[in-house]
Every structure is written in C-alpha cells, then in structure tokens.
C-alpha cells in the first residue's frame, strides 16, 4: 500500500510531542499507518468510532478531564461531524485538533471521493475553522505544533488537511 509510512511517522511524532494521549479515528486508507501506530502505542488511547461526530464528544470529555486529544478522519468524516463541531466544540470552546485526510483533489482516482474534495476547504472557511495543509515532510512538525497552540489559545477547533503529496507515494 503506497501510503507514506515516513510521513505518517512524522505526523504521529508531532502529535506525541504535543502531548496528545488520546486519538479517535475511523479507518481511511491514508490513515492506516497512523491508526496502527496509535494502536501499538501503550501511551496512547485509541478510540475507534462508529461515526466521526462521536469523536467531538470524546475529545470534549477528554479536554475537561485534562487529556490532550486529536481526531483522525477523512474529509467525509469531517462532513459527518459538523453538527458536533458547531454545537459542542464551538459552542463550548473546546480546543479540538482535527487531522483530516483531504481526499478528492487533483490525482484522486476514486470517483466517490471527488465531491467531498470540492467542499472541504469551503466548509472549513464557512465554519471559521482555521486550517493549514500538511503537504511536505519539512513543515509537518511545525504546523502540528502551531495548530495545537492556536487551538488552546483560542479554545476552538482547528484543522490540518493531510494532502496527497504527503500521504501517498506512487
């Protein structure tokens, strides 16, 4: 599977350096290495979800309890989580770090991913969720750290869009 193991490791290391001790996730091709790393890490609680919106509640609970968390999901999972993001994370000022695989852009071969790719950035803008793209290994650690810093200072959700050039090796 041509999902980049080295980029996945960099992202995972970024989360660990940010003190993340819980991740919620739904499997998606680009996230397989990240989910396996979380699974094998005794210092990480991996919560496998039935639907992404649950992850917002779980992260809110973890935050109240003093645990740093992150959500791993595909952009369609972000679409599925929107009400929770607005009416839990934004309403209650939860610092929510969302790592979203940005499927459906240039290079996408799966027809079913293409509509989600068209709306993801626009929806983030509409929700006033600050985001950056993770596109090359050089800026991964820095951008994860910056995103987390803003999430906590603003008390709001922030997103990192994982791009094809970072996650996929052909």
């Amino acid at each position: 599977m041509p999902v980049s193991a080295s980029s996945s490791s960099l992202i995972y290391r970024g989360l660990k350096e940010g003190g993340v001790r819980m991740v919620s996730a739904l499997p998606e091709t680009w996230l397989v290495h990240l989910i396996r790393m979380a699974e094998e890490d005794e210092g990480m609680t991996l919560v496998r979800l039935a639907k992404e919106e649950e992850g917002v509640g779980i992260s809110a609970g973890a935050h109240f309890a003093g645990v740093r968390s992150a959500m791993l999901m595909q952009n369609h999972g972000f679409l599925a989580a929107v009400n929770g993001i607005v009416s839990c994370a934004q309403l209650y000022r939860i610092p929510l770090l969302m790592l979203i695989s940005d499927r459906g852009g240039f290079g996408e071969r799966d027809p079913w991913q293409t509509e989600g790719g068209l709306v993801t950035a626009h929806l983030l803008d509409a929700l006033r969720i600050p985001f950056q793209r993770l596109e090359s290994p050089g800026h991964v650690a820095h951008r994860i750290a910056q995103a987390q810093t803003l999430a906590y200072s603003a008390g709001r959700p922030v997103a990192l869009l994982l791009g094809r050039d970072l996650m996929w090796e052909e």
Partner: protein, 191 residues
C-alpha cells in the same frame, strides 16, 4: 414515574460523580434541584452526551461518570452505544430517560413510542449491564446496583412526558463548562 422524581431519587448519589446531561428538560430539572460544579449540561449536540461521558471516563478512570441521556438524543447516536460498549468504561453509568417523545419541541413521538427498545439495543451493542425500569423504587435500585457493580450499565427509565415550564436557566453555558473543567482539574490525582 416523573423524571423530576427520578432525578430527586438519585440526586444525593450524584454528589461524588462527574455528571453529564443532555439539553432540555433533563438539564433544567437537574438544575432546579440544585446545580453543583460537578454537573455539566450539554445544551446542544444531541447524541453526544454519552460520547462526552466516554471521553471523561477513559481519561479519568478514578472518576465515576454519570450520563443523564434521553430517548431522542440516544436515537441520534445509536452507533455511540457500540463505541461505549467496545471500550466498556467500568466507571460509567448511562441513564436514559425515555419519555417516548421529543418533549421540548412539541412532544412528537420518537421510535420508542412504537416499540424500539433502547435497553435491548444497548444490550445488543454489547453494553454488559442493562435494565428498563418503570417505577421510582426500581430506578433507585437499578442505580444502586450499577454503582455497586462497577461496570458499564445502561438504565432505561421510562418516564412521563412532562417537563418544566421553561428550559433556559440563568447558568450560562460557558460558566458551566469552565466550572466543570475546574472541578475536574482540582480533583486530578497527583502523578
């Protein structure tokens, strides 16, 4: 059984718990009995009270977490029951007040009015202990059993479709949220 009476019946038991409620009547009625800093009212995000409780329970195994849920909310996040069961936090008691309706928005019937059985759904999802209770005595006993069992329990309490005259209280959402977080922080075990 009226939900307010059920809440009164277990109110003293909630003193040492981290309590998460759904919006609407449950939040307003619990506040009417007396707000405490360990009560958090999730005043929207229907369905996520149990998920928030799971996040708390997994993060802080030393806490006892009580989620006060409702049929309308649970029906919006049935998948969450499978997640709850999968991680089986032994420190979480999940109470579902089932009045078979969406009371605060006109009283329209939910699917539990036509036979959907939330305790059976929870059991089918893998929640190890479930019960459906219809009287105050049975509710009190089921709650005490859940405490004693130290295992994930879903109690479906069938209640009348009656609620408070108003749902908005003078406790602001963010005041409640920060107070709750501070309560949990102050009780954090020393590492």
């Amino acid at each position: 059984m009226r939900r307010l009476d059920a809440l009164k019946a277990v109110y003293p038991e909630l003193e040492d718990c981290a309590v998460v409620t759904i919006m609407g009547a449950v939040a307003a009625e619990l506040q009417s009995l007396g707000h405490r800093p360990n009560f958090f009212y999730l005043q929207h995000a229907m369905g996520l009270a149990s998920s928030l409780g799971l996040g708390l329970a997994l993060s802080r195994p030393e806490l006892r977490v009580v989620v006060l849920d409702g049929d309308g909310s649970v029906l919006m996040n049935l998948g969450g029951l499978t997640t709850l069961a999968r991680y089986r936090p032994r420190n979480l008691i999940h109470v579902v007040f089932d009045n078979e309706s969406l009371l605060s928005v006109g009283g329209f019937p939910t699917a539990t009015a036509t036979g959907s059985d939330l305790a059976a759904i929870a059991a089918g999802a893998g929640v190890p202990r479930t019960a459906t209770v219809r009287t105050l005595d049975r509710f009190r006993a089921a709650f005490a059993d859940a405490r004693a069992a130290n295992d994930l329990t879903t109690i479906v309490a069938k209640v009348e479709a009656v609620g408070p005259s108003a749902y908005v209280t003078d406790l602001s959402l963010l005041e409640n949220r920060y107070q709750f977080q501070r309560y949990l922080r102050d009780r954090r075990p020393k590492e």
